[in-house]
């Protein structure tokens, strides 16, 4: 499916935790095509910033034509987005990339930090048995929404919420079980998840992050190394924006 370029209208935006914003957009074109695990490219208004910002889709409402994004203010671009008000226009392109492939197996959904938001729409989309494992540094967010959909195990670095430690600690302590893992989060977490899945002998689909320019597979800026030769690039590199962001953990060579 071809992505669309669209002028989205901000429906609502609120701060849901320290530096974390929750934004709903009216963008019927992108919404009609969106799937869990895909992302949008958001364009900055400030013209000194040329590159679009990739943000994962956290919620899809195809009927209303709305998409929901939850993001962290990481720098100047996301800061700019966080200042948009209801009714403002935001240029975007999407949906982009290859999302999660839902398999009919008991699922473990693992989100770490700002990798948590995309797991929410995935959790909704999975109709079978599922458990969510969410890892926070400190202040939790989106927790209640997850809890409405599935059992949740929580880990936090500071130990204030749930298990003190990593998502793997939470899985072990809470004895979370399943036949497939879907995960998004920081690289060290994904590496730990991949190792865990390998040891358990189950599939893990992991969503990667890389700096991007085109977002559509043209510039080769955003690759990850892969064990096998990628059919498109003809080398052991896949494009995170196009072949991913979701990859089978077994394919990925961690840096």
């Amino acid at each position: 499916m071809n992505p669309v370029k669209e002028k989205a209208v901000i429906i609502s935006q609120k701060r849901i935790a320290e530096g974390i914003f929750d934004m709903s957009l009216r963008c019927p074109g992108a919404a009609s095509l969106a799937e869990p695990g895909q992302f949008l490219n958001l364009y900055c208004r400030n013209e000194t910033r040329l590159l679009p910002r990739p943000i994962s889709i956290c919620g899809i409402d195809k009927e209303k034509g709305n998409l929901r994004l939850v993001y962290r203010v990481a720098g100047a671009g996301t800061k700019e987005f966080s200042e948009l008000k209801t009714g403002d226009i935001l240029d975007l392109m999407g949906p982009l990339g290859h999302g999660f492939t839902i398999k009919d197996k008991p699922a473990i959904l693992i989100g770490g930090g700002i990798g948590i938001p995309p797991m929410l729409e995935l959790a909704r989309a999975i109709s079978g048995r599922k458990t969510c494992v969410l890892g926070y540094r400190d202040e939790p967010f989106l927790l209640e929404e997850f809890a409405k959909i599935a059992p949740v195990a929580v880990a936090s670095e500071d130990g204030m919420t749930g298990v003190k430690g990593t998502v793997i600690d939470a899985i072990r302590e809470k004895k979370v079980e399943g036949g497939i893992i879907y995960a998004c989060g920081p690289m060290p977490m994904l590496k730990a998840v991949a190792d865990y899945a390998a040891r358990q002998g189950i599939e893990a689909q992991i969503s990667l992050e890389e700096r991007m320019a085109c977002g559509i597979g043209a510039c080769l800026g955003c690759i990850c190394q892969t064990k096998e030769k990628n059919h498109h690039t003809n080398v052991n590199n896949s494009r995170v924006c196009k072949d991913g962001p979701v990859f089978d953990a077994k394919e990925v060579v961690f840096p």
Partner: protein, 299 residues
């Protein structure tokens, strides 16, 4: 309104092409651009064998610009000929193939491999700053540039466009070396070497250390070099560097470019090539210009 231009005897329906490396092999942009409506598609640099390129991060943003250190990742000439050329032809696009290599033999191999392909021009990238071995030296030394141009010209069946690096003291010296060696046209500018430091993590942001600066930030440097080269030699020029509007393109053409390439602007606006083309037409209408040649090198 006549938009058709010629480069080394090849004619293109309009003067707008894509800057190599920013437009893949065209297919990725088909959702936004009719490839047949472009003057030509210039493809990502291709070598004799597949290259994996540099580690990531390969990209960084700068003020009105960006740095890239992709390192010429490419699928190799075989897959390129089998997959990308037929696809572009099927879509009705004119094709400029950007060629890279580590040694003269690498380049010559690619050029020979393209002999019977339906390719309009060969753009030779001797200026990519991201390749440590070979590449850069050719683009920064007039003797080396002369040498490689001469060898490529011996074998090339299509016109040869040497693509110059801006990272030199005197761009006209390079242009004259390429001209003397028989280059049929010139293309400039490639990226300017830059660097960004992640001050929070205290390390170079790009895995490669340095990267090539592109985008509107470099436009005035590109215009200057195109102007200087246009005055210094008589080869037709494909001008590029920070073009994102029709006005930027007109400026580049007035400086002496017969054709312009749109690069980094595609990332900000996937329809940038078409917007540039429309902008050129609007300018021509506003000033009653019937043939684009009236503005090429008119300064």
């Amino acid at each position: 309104m006549k938009l058709q231009v010629e480069i080394a005897g090849k004619s293109f329906k309009n003067p707008v092409t894509t800057a190599s490396g920013t437009f893949g092999s065209g297919a990725e942009y088909e959702a936004f651009v009719d490839l047949a409506a472009l003057g030509a598609v210039t493809t990502k640099g291709v070598a004799n064998v597949p290259w994996a390129g540099n580690p990531t991060p390969r990209l960084a943003e700068t003020c009105s610009g960006m740095l890239n250190a992709v390192g010429l990742q490419n699928p190799g000439i075989d897959l390129f000929c089998k997959r990308d050329i037929p696809h572009l032809k099927e879509k009705g696009a004119s094709i400029i193939v950007n060629v890279c290599g580590r040694t003269i033999a690498d380049y010559v191999e690619v050029v020979e491999r393209l002999s019977d392909e339906p390719v309009d021009l060969l753009e030779i990238n001797v200026s990519c700053p991201n390749v440590k071995a070979g590449g850069i030296a050719f683009g920064q030394n007039p003797d080396a540039l002369f040498e490689i141009t001469k060898e490529i010209k011996k074998k090339a069946r299509q016109p040869v466009v040497m693509k110059l690096s801006p990272n030199v003291t005197d761009i006209t010296e390079m242009a004259r070396a390429a001209e003397a060696a028989g280059s049929d046209a010139l293309s400039l500018i490639n990226t300017i070497t830059g660097m960004k430091i992640d001050i929070h993590r205290r390390r170079l942001l790009l895995a490669n250390g340095t990267g090539g600066l592109s985008g509107p930030a470099i436009h005035p440097v590109a215009v200057r070099m195109v102007y200087q080269v246009h005055k210094a030699c008589s080869l037709p020029i494909i001008g590029m560097g920070g073009i994102s509007t029709g006005e930027d393109a007109i400026e580049m053409m007035m400086a002496g470019a017969s054709m312009v390439a749109v690069g980094t602007a595609n990332f900000h606006n996937p329809g940038a090539t078409m917007d540039v083309l429309e902008g050129i037409k609007s300018y021509m209408e506003a000033y009653n210009i019937v043939d684009i040649h009236e503005i090429i090198g008119c300064i």
